[in-house]
Symmetry: C2
Subunit: 340 residues, 2 copies
Amino acid sequence: MKRTSLNDIATKLGVSKTLVSFVLNGKGKEFRINEDICKKVQDTAKEMNYQPNRLAQGLRTGKTNTIGLIIADIANPFFGFLGREIEQEAAKSGYRVIFCSSDENPEKSKQQIAMLQQSQVDGYIISPPMYSSDQVQALVKNNIPLVLIDRFFPEIDSNYVGINNFEAAYKATSHLIRLGRKRIACISVNKDMINMRERTEGYKQALIDADLPVDENLVKILTFSHDNKELVKALKDLFGKKENRKADAILFSTSKLGIMGIEFISSLGLKIPDDIAVVSFDDPDAYKICVSPVTVVNQPLKEIGKTAVQVLLNKIKHPDAKSQQIILKTEFIIRKSCGS
Amino acid sequence: MKRTSLNDIATKLGVSKTLVSFVLNGKGKEFRINEDICKKVQDTAKEMNYQPNRLAQGLRTGKTNTIGLIIADIANPFFGFLGREIEQEAAKSGYRVIFCSSDENPEKSKQQIAMLQQSQVDGYIISPPMYSSDQVQALVKNNIPLVLIDRFFPEIDSNYVGINNFEAAYKATSHLIRLGRKRIACISVNKDMINMRERTEGYKQALIDADLPVDENLVKILTFSHDNKELVKALKDLFGKKENRKADAILFSTSKLGIMGIEFISSLGLKIPDDIAVVSFDDPDAYKICVSPVTVVNQPLKEIGKTAVQVLLNKIKHPDAKSQQIILKTEFIIRKSCGS
DNA sequence: TATTTTAGCTAAATCGTTTTAGTTACCAAA
DNA sequence: TTTGGTAACTAAAACGATTTAGCTAAAATA
């Protein structure tokens, strides 16, 4: 079942494929092709269900209208939403998206970038894993269109779309302080990732500005966000001993941690917000129907995705465009998990 | 910054590109290429950071090692998990995945299929929207490798990987009956979608087999799963009047409905499971940390994704393979939302 | 010595487009 | 009669790989 090509249409009509190509690319007028013939070509194309071969097009033109997306994990609703928005905004301009989940693993992202290069994608949107700055650097050095999201590398001058993590964490922590919490814990991951570091810094600064001590025992930076054991250990340390609870509030720096954390806290029989107040980054469904709906810092995922695509497409169109760092506003949603 | 091609390596070493191609495809032995030259070619390829152009390869060989995935919405964790698993399993065999969210819209899926055809994907995994059977039929007729997931069309003989929806709904409903619920409502969507219809049928059969009346007033089939208003209206009808509640239990046929439903039920001040018992399909995070963790029919998403890819790759390899319908086991997880 | 075999390599076609640089035929103007 | 212009179209190269068919020189065999 061979697909019909330009040539098939051309021979069928007894014209050259050049002519067919011109017509189907809407350049009939420009190249003064007889209107009757234009019509015939178009009709025949439809009749034979002609679909241009994008490989051939891409090979010839050097453009594939495809963008490569590397995120941590498409199954994580945070990235799912982001991916969705990116797909949608890209489609508006006729671009396809190849999705890759890196699992925050620089080895994987390296391979994925190579694969995407081989696929001749026109540009990249990447949420880079820790220790992958060399990969990003290589792309930037070759002036390959690229936008980073969610995190960036301060030492690399690249496009970036994200939020002010410091400020958001500061605000969330201040909210807990305002409600009278004194021993506020912070649970985070990926210690060397800039966005996570900024969140911890924001948290600490809020404590300092409120004349509260920064107790490193209350700051738990885990290595893997999917490792339940590590989280449980951290929470046990904080809340294990009934009469000697170390903390009366927690700031979760990702919703993945928050969801698992709340599940475990509940299993300990502790009540939110009475025993423990909770604030978290991101706003998954779970937080809305939770035992005690969770107060959150919500990121503007739609806008992040949309903007990232726009910046990328602009860079693809104008290779000389200089890099942009776009910081979008977060939304602080107060629910019941902090009491009042 | 032109990328290096086979030709670049060839001219640099003063050999033909045929030779270079042979060597880099590991056919040095087969074509009796001098070992020293093999070595040189490989070294030079690495040195020049040669990346094969997949467009050219695909154009010549007719294979792209790419599969097209069409699902309803990648932001929906149900499909997110599925997509993740598919991506992962495909990567194991060196396949890329192009993701498309159809929003259950047949117009969109039609366009997406066309786009994927143009991209010369080797095969399709599709969760087809309602009224898209002609699109699927066209693919099947041309013997294009294809696997349907989550739903299928009874009139089309295609590959399919899914679950026994009738049985699962029957089991869930029976569980509610066993716990003494008499007026069990069913909330679903997409009335003409086979998987949803099977669920309603399973629900009804369970009632019949338990000698309970099937009350059509308790069966709410919505048109859109994302339309909160429609759902709220249905729930108000069921639970609106305090002293005259129509139902004492609900079966939600998707987790999207369930999450929004539970949120609204809670806002009415009704208690789960005391006032209303709840069972749902699928098992999102939200159900685990919910006010009253939800009893669910969990689909084996990992296995569905993995199997779908395997069936597809097999069909790609063996175009004469006959179609398979694979039904995987669900898991019934009992939590607190039904009382005891 | 003549013929065949083998090792080691290459030329060129091909996939389906796009695009440059023409060509042809006709008519008008000089 | 020559020149120039224009309308309408086409040949062929190019993109970067794969793959078929075949070439040359040396070694093995008859």
